[in-house]
Amino acid sequence: MESNIKNTHSDDNISKDQDNSTIYEDQSVGVELTRKDINAMAWRSLLLQASFNYERMQAGGWLYGLLPALKKIHTNKSDLSKSMVGHMGLVNTHPFLVTFVMGIILAMERSKQDVTSITNTKIAVAAPLGGIGDAMFWLTLLPICGGIGASMALEGSIMGAVFFLVLFNVVHFGLRFGLAHFAYRMGVNAIPLIKANTKKVAHAASIVGLTVIGALVATYVRLTTTAEITAGQAVVKIQADVIDKLMPAFFPLIYTLLMYALVKKGWSPLKLISLTMVFGVAGKFAGIL
């Protein structure tokens, strides 16, 4: 509850605080971006994660993707720098859906929205799309294409590889370019609507995002115990007789929540991976995994 209210407030504050430094000097609408410009953006978005890192995540590649357009929009150097600085902030989203966010953002840049509301929109839309995209593409599209491809490959047919590559990338590039143009065009006509609804859209997207993450935890985290309680000739299989009856995917849930707690505690991915490996190996040796 509180946290919820609190955060709402904070949001307001952000969107209210009108620190001048966040307003572009040149307020005249920037030049129209051509289809070529948007395509360029989409192509460059392929390098979104070139300089991926755990501090800013995709920030470097994100800015890289926007640069040509930003240069066209902000003829005034100090505005350009202002905008670039803003885009070096942490951002992380799904690499296929990123062009959707980029398109909207470029539309906002062009109409010279203040940097803060641009940043807010960027985060609000990008973050949930990360989870959604992972679910849709990494954990649904990919396994399906992979599964079909593999089944053909196991019969020794090279067609498996071809089938996989084609099926997967039709979706991939279709989305990457389609969304780029769609979002930019939409963005141009809908700036006010977007500013007004960013929060609502983000809210809706987060609902979908968290729903799928909840599903992913149960679907993709594999963790079961082999522990048993033996009593005379009677045996109780902890997993089959207790856990599964109570809550399937119990351990995956617990472990994910543990990871979550540690992440919030600020543990680095490296530490988490090490921990997981120790856990797995130790558990195996202890004979409970």
Partner: protein, 258 residues
């Protein structure tokens, strides 16, 4: 069969580009189902490459980097595993056993790289401040170069020097260690989800997490169905507001009425 220097170099270069494709480009030719055959081509045994690739594809199914969290590395796993299968003629299952420790090592290596890379961000801030677009681009290109080289080495060295000793090396490792690492691999996605949750999870969204979990854990619905359900719920929520507005309006009139 002996793996020639040329072949090892070939595999290294393959790893270089596949490595970039894992995070950039994302055509996913880096997945075993395609990488396997390519390794096969280079080592002159396409058939084994296809078969092993298919097998490894299933092993790595559902393992992708989420929120930057690395699962055991699919590329080095595939290249080393397949080369080994072709070189020693063992079956896929054993190839996997050999692949795992390398895949895990690289998983950690990359994670380390992504931590180190944080350092250069401050540099980018400066470039940004000076609106130095070239600078930004340079950083990204260099980063790609570093990543690619890292992959090159991890493919070239073990294959060139290791491939034939790999078997012995692996047989030295206790079986439990291997399967323990396998188990850990199955747990890895939890890390990605945790990071995603850190980014997205506010109290108000906890209920949706629960609903998604129930649908998957008990009803065993596929992710797509659950996502659609989430979408429906989100839309209901999204379209509800106006009414309230309306109500307030009603209220307004009512006040005027006074």
């Amino acid at each position: 069969m002996e793996i020639t220097l040329l072949q090892a170099l070939g595999l290294g270069i393959l790893a270089f580009f596949a490595g970039l494709d894992l995070f950039n480009g994302l055509t996913h030719f880096h997945r075993p189902v395609i990488l396997g055959p390519l390794v096969g081509l280079i080592l002159g045994d396409l058939h084994t490459g296809i078969i092993t690739g298919g097998a490894l594809e299933l092993v790595w199914m559902g393992l992708a980097p989420l929120a930057g969290a690395q699962p055991p590395n699919v590329i080095i796993g595939t290249i080393v595993g397949t080369s080994f299968a072709i070189a020693t003629g063992v079956d896929a299952a054993q190839a996997v056993a050999v692949a795992v420790p390398f895949a895990v090592a690289v998983q950690m290596g990359i994670t380390f790289l992504f931590s180190a890379m944080s350092a250069v961000m401050s540099k980018c801030d400066v470039y940004a401040k000076n609106a130095d677009t070239k600078g930004i681009e340079r950083v990204n290109y260099l980063a790609l170069l570093v990543l690619g080289t890292f992959y090159f080495l991890w493919a070239f060295l073990p294959v060139y020097f290791g491939a034939d000793h790999a078997k012995g090396f692996v047989e030295m490792l206790p079986a439990d260690l291997m399967s323990g690492l396998g188990i850990a691999g199955g747990m890895m996605p939890a890390i990605g989800f945790a990071v995603l949750m850190k980014i997205m999870l506010k109290n108000v969204y906890i209920p949706y997490f629960i609903l998604g979990f129930i649908a998957a854990a008990w009803l065993e619905m596929p992710v797509l169905a659950i996502a659609l359900g989430g979408l429906a719920i989100a839309l209901i929520d999204f379209m509800k507001k106006p009414e309230v507005a309306e109500n307030v309006q009603v209220k307004k009139e009512f006040e005027d009425g006074i």
